[in-house]
């Protein structure tokens, strides 16, 4: 891979920022530096009216010079930013009021965009590896206007033909499976899958995973070799847009002073 003046974390943060429109509600977690930075970058560049829920508070951060990162989502020091307090169970009384978009991870991600945070299946039942658990991902991904699958690693152990267990249903067995279950009320499945190698989507007739863009310096063969199933490939394969110097300045001076993205 050729030398680039930005990290993968910065590239992906800029991609996420491009997906957010002014006025969106976004939920910023503590422990995912790339989606966090994407949300905040959108807020500072083109989203002055974005409603930011971060930790247990809702706020507008336009005039905060330093958006310091917090290690724990429960850190009470975020309360000094609060315009409103988020009572956690209230989120699930009206999930669409907290977030228009959401980010889902997985220890497995499959051809049809299903994701697994539960664990790896043992023959005859049970788990050989216990995963982190579903958290709020099933609910938030169902209610979001757009949700993204984000994986900080891209290899055949994560990108599998079929998830052992499904914590968030993407397109199930493909085709109209999502619609048949009535899961298409608020979104049509994962908007994209974002990895260190490429942006992928499901814009195929049967909703199988397809490459949407390659990150600069990545070859098609790298992505296919890192994926445990055959990817659909469009005729034209664009590059993921590179960060602008202004985006990099905002990231490095206001959002990510500690350089977590440069390590991501």
């Amino acid at each position: 891979m050729t030398e680039r003046p930005y990290s993968n974390g910065e590239l992906l943060a800029c991609y996420f920022a491009s997906q957010i429109v002014n006025g969106d509600r976004v939920f910023v977690g503590a422990n995912l530096p790339v989606p966090r930075a994407g949300n905040l970058l959108a807020h500072l560049t083109h989203g002055p009216d974005i409603k930011v829920s971060i930790g247990m508070v809702s706020t507008n951060l336009l005039h905060e010079p330093q958006l310091e990162p917090f290690k724990f989502s429960t850190d009470h020091r975020m309360s000094r930013w609060a315009e409103a307090i988020v009572i956690h169970n209230d989120i699930f009384d009206a999930p669409r009021k907290i977030s228009d978009l959401f980010f889902v991870g997985g220890i497995q991600i499959d051809r049809f965009g299903n994701t697994n945070l539960i664990g790896l299946r043992r023959e005859g039942g049970g788990l050989t590896l216990r995963g982190p658990g579903t958290l709020g991902t099933a609910s938030m991904a169902y209610y979001a206007k757009r949700y993204y699958v984000y994986s900080p690693t891209h290899d055949p152990r994560v990108f599998v033909e079929r998830c052992d267990y499904i914590s968030v249903f993407g397109h199930g067995d493909g085709g109209d499976h999502r619609a048949r279950l009535g899961l298409d009320r608020f979104n049509a499945g994962p908007a994209a899958v974002v990895t260190p190698l490429a942006i992928l989507d499901f814009a195929t007739p049967d909703h199988r995973m397809r490459i949407q863009s390659l990150h600069p310096g990545v070859e098609l063969e790298d992505v296919q070799a890192s994926t445990g199933f055959e990817l659909a490939v469009p005729d034209e394969l664009p590059l993921t847009p590179e960060p602008t110097s202004e985006q990099l300045r905002l990231l490095r001076e206001r959002i990510d002073r500690d350089g977590l993205l440069r390590k991501a």
Binding site: F72, D75, I85, N89, G126, T134, G136, A138, L181
Partner: protein, 299 residues
């Protein structure tokens, strides 16, 4: 004679006396914050067994300790995590992989539906997310069904009935009026689902102070109130102190050693911090005042 209002103040032993083997006990707080640790350590010290433990919808390492110490048979939560310190609790991971603990596999919205059903005295409530997932295969309390009005496919989530909820918060008076600083996370739902609620509070305050800011009363009329300053340690307590990362690192090192088959460090941890001290105050003396004061929130 003028009748006198009854205090519900309890000492920690009287609060622990309310728990019997096999009960469903809710442990409040969320992730790395606000767990009622004086009670959690007391349950371990007493050798309580067979509990079904309902955590926050994302529980922290307090549930991991209850699994490691043999107190919990089942955990009702979507995750047992140390967040940035450990994505999965070591004892939870081990027990879940070995089938030694039952896991009420769920998502946060599903879990709140079950608690809400209990609060409303209903057998179940519907939830949509989780349809098509593996959660109903793993959790028999989640049953797919068709909405009788529209035919839409939904999950019926069985009520999560709680015998007793323990909730740690900032301040309470002796009449059971509790106030969180900050959001209170999902503690209100545990209280609503529980037959009885016992608060542990950083500070016992006069009823007049509660009345002065009555809108902040997040848990009204708990059945018991225990004074527990520093009572969430080693976790954070909003408005009071931060996570003691050094202590949690010591816990995680011991739990990870046990996961690899060496019980020595965890036995030593239990002896030093849980079984050795006979009360919450003795625990705090073991931690030391210098260490506690260093967890200052706004320093």
């Amino acid at each position: 004679m003028t009748p006198r209002r009854s205090s519900v103040r309890l000492d920690e032993e009287a609060a622990l006396d309310l728990v019997r083997d096999g009960m469903t006990v809710a442990i409040g707080g969320f992730n790395t914050a606000a767990h009622p640790m004086a009670i959690v350590r007391g349950l371990v010290r007493r050798g309580v067994r067979g509990l079904r433990v309902v955590g926050g919808t994302i529980a922290g390492l307090e549930l991991d300790l209850l699994i490691g110490a043999g107190v919990a048979d089942e955990v009702v939560t979507s995750s047992v995590t140390g967040e940035a310190l450990a994505s999965v609790g070591p004892f939870f991971r081990n027990a879940a992989e070995a089938g030694a603990v039952r896991v009420w596999e769920s998502d946060e919205g599903i879990l709140y539906a079950g608690l809400r059903a209990a609060g409303q005295g209903l057998p179940s409530l519907p939830w949509k997310a989780g349809v098509g997932s593996s959660l109903p295969e793993l959790n028999p309390d989640l049953r797919p069904y068709e909405d009788p009005i529209t035919g839409e496919q939904l999950l019926a989530v069985a009520a999560i009935e709680v015998d007793i909820a323990f909730i740690h918060l900032s301040r309470a008076d002796v009449y059971g009026l509790g106030q969180h600083t900050g959001s209170g996370f999902g503690d209100r739902m545990l209280h609503r689902a529980a037959k009885r609620t016992v608060l542990t509070a950083e500070k016992i305050v006069p009823n007049e102070q509660i009345r002065a800011r009555a809108i902040e009363t997040s848990i009204p009329y708990a059945d018991g109130v225990v004074a527990a300053p520093w009572g969430a340690h080693p976790f954070s307590s909003p408005g009071h102190y931060l996570v003691d990362e050094q202590h949690l690192a010591e816990y995680l090192a011991a739990a990870n050693a046990a996961r690899k088959g060496d019980d020595g460090p965890f036995d030593a941890y239990l002896q030093r911090y849980v079984l050795g001290p006979s009360s919450h105050v003795e625990y705090l003396e073991q931690i030391g005042i210098g260490r506690l004061l260093a967890l200052e929130e706004w320093g």
